[in-house]
Amino acid sequence: MESVTKRYPDGTVAVDRLSLEIPDRSITVLVGPSGCGKTTTLRMINRMVEPSEGTILLDGADIQQQPVTTLRRSMGYVIQNAGLFQHRTILDNIATVPRMLGWGKHKSRARAAELMERVGLDASLGKRYPYQLSGGQQQRVGVARALAADPPVLLMDEPFSAVDPVVRKGLQDELLRIQEELGKTIVFVTHDIDEAMKLGTRVAVMRTGGRLAQFAPPAELLSDPADAFVEDFLGADRGIRRLSFFPSAGLELTTGPVVPADAGAERIAASDAPYVLVTDAAGRPLGWSDPRDLTAGDITPEGLLPYGRPFVPGTDSLRAALDCAVLSPTGWAVAVDTDGRVVGVASQAAIGEAIRDAHAAGRADDARVAP
């Protein structure tokens, strides 16, 4: 997008001299408060809104050069309430664009069935009508419909904001998985900064008046916000959020306070920590206890303090590790491997050390870690 402006006849400027280079095969998120022009910007890409000034280039060619319907058919479009056609079955909804492009009925339906599977919908829903589906399922259909003709570009306008947080998280994870498989160029509009941070390869923060405040990868936004507006928009817990981008692999773990349930008295006594983590025979955590309350040979899970939620070093971020430590009644975070076996525990002090190390290492690792 080169210096694009949208001015309405009444003089309102929705988007003001916006220049943006949207990278191929990645998710670009437009985020900002309501009225910042993010939706207008998105809708200018498929010419649902025509810019007043400036040009938008797609693979080097001005989008004004081709017929508007051709342009739109080459871009998937997903909107907030899914916008399904209530008189058509789910399969026929998904098959809409292939049918418009002149595919046969059979081929279109087969393609629709394939997409239902890809977005995680049961094939039995194909013959249903939209009103018989939940909001989350409808939104999956919306995504499947947009992907039906395999467009290189996907435009998504607050697609997940009308569903509840649990369903939203599922849809976000699904989108990341689909993106990993398909590698589309996705432009995603949201007002939810957490969603932007989670999904965006790059995030464009826009401010009221349709101006671009900052365009950067999420970790960079958190470490170097361009100005007070961006900093404010990122929220008060920017520092904590940033920990999401610090890997927990370097965190120093200790196995000193970890004792198996069948340990002898001397093993319990050998751990000089104020609390010990008791594990079962397979090495899975059972709970914390004061070592003085433990009687060798007679340890039952009932008398133990809960251990909270463990984290997986290397997979989870330092944010997850810190969260575990804060939630744990003893202040120690429990680290487990992917099978749930304890590999060690980390103190808040050790996590603090790791955070200082990560800061010292300079800019955060770009590799994205699930928050």
Binding site: T70, I79, Q86, V97
Partner: protein
């Protein structure tokens, strides 16, 4: 004699069942006038209603025309037109069409305009042409309401088509007009009963059309 006796006497008289003044003949004429008037009214009301509903423009003008048309008394209009144009089928069709266009036009406009905007936005965004959006996205969803407009127009036409008899045409109004003139109340009541039954049959036809034409996804069952 009460009304039921009139009805009984009228329908059991064998002479009323054949000939040019027989029930089948008059019924057929009445249905013909009604269908013709409904077809003409729909030919005017549906396209204008669909187009204005789709674009969202002209709503105020429509409401004004519809109110004005409703205020015209059908019978007075008929007399006026016959005076101007003489006898014939056309002078009868004009008041019937004037009667039927407003409900068709206004409900069609409202039906299309009240379609949820998000599927329309989605359709436009996926590159659907405007005509296709109207016929494949808006119309199927607006259909139940459009049918209800056609239905009330049809019922009004069926009951008002009796005025054709005043200007020497046929139809079930013949029994009512002739009966009143001849003080043959049996005939009047019989004719009125037939009109009422035909109106009920019209309702049934539209109910069946709704079942067949409206998608289960819109009917929600």
């Amino acid at each position: 004699m009460n009304v039921l006796n009139f009805v009984n006497a009228f329908f059991s008289d064998g002479a009323h069942w054949h000939g040019y003044d027989g029930i089948p003949q008059r019924l057929l004429e009445h249905v013909r006038y009604s269908l013709l008037a409904l077809a003409l009214a729909a030919a005017i009301g549906l396209p204008v209603g669909l187009l204005t509903g789709h674009t969202g423009r002209g709503g105020n003008a429509l409401a004004f025309i519809a109110t004005a048309a409703r205020a015209l008394p059908s019978f007075g209009l008929l007399v006026l037109i016959v005076i101007l144009m003489g006898f014939g089928l056309l002078p009868v069709m004009i008041p019937l069409v004037v009667l039927a266009v407003p409900p068709i036009l206004v409900t069609t406009y409202e039906a299309v305009r009240s379609v949820d905007p998000s599927p329309v936005d989605a359709a436009r965004g996926m590159g659907m042409r405007e005509s296709r959006i109207l016929f494949q996205v808006e119309l199927p969803v607006a259909l139940p309401l459009i049918l209800s407009g056609l239905r009330s127009a049809a019922v009004q036409i069926v009951s008002t088509a009796t005025i054709a008899a005043y200007v020497s045409l046929g139809g079930l109004g013949r029994y009512i007009v002739d009966g009143l003139y001849q003080r043959d109340y049996e005939k009047v009541v019989g004719g009125a009963t037939l009109v009422a039954v035909l109106a009920l049959v019209t309702l049934a036809v539209f109910w069946a059309a709704g079942r067949l034409a409206v998608s289960p996804g819109v009917r929600r069952r």
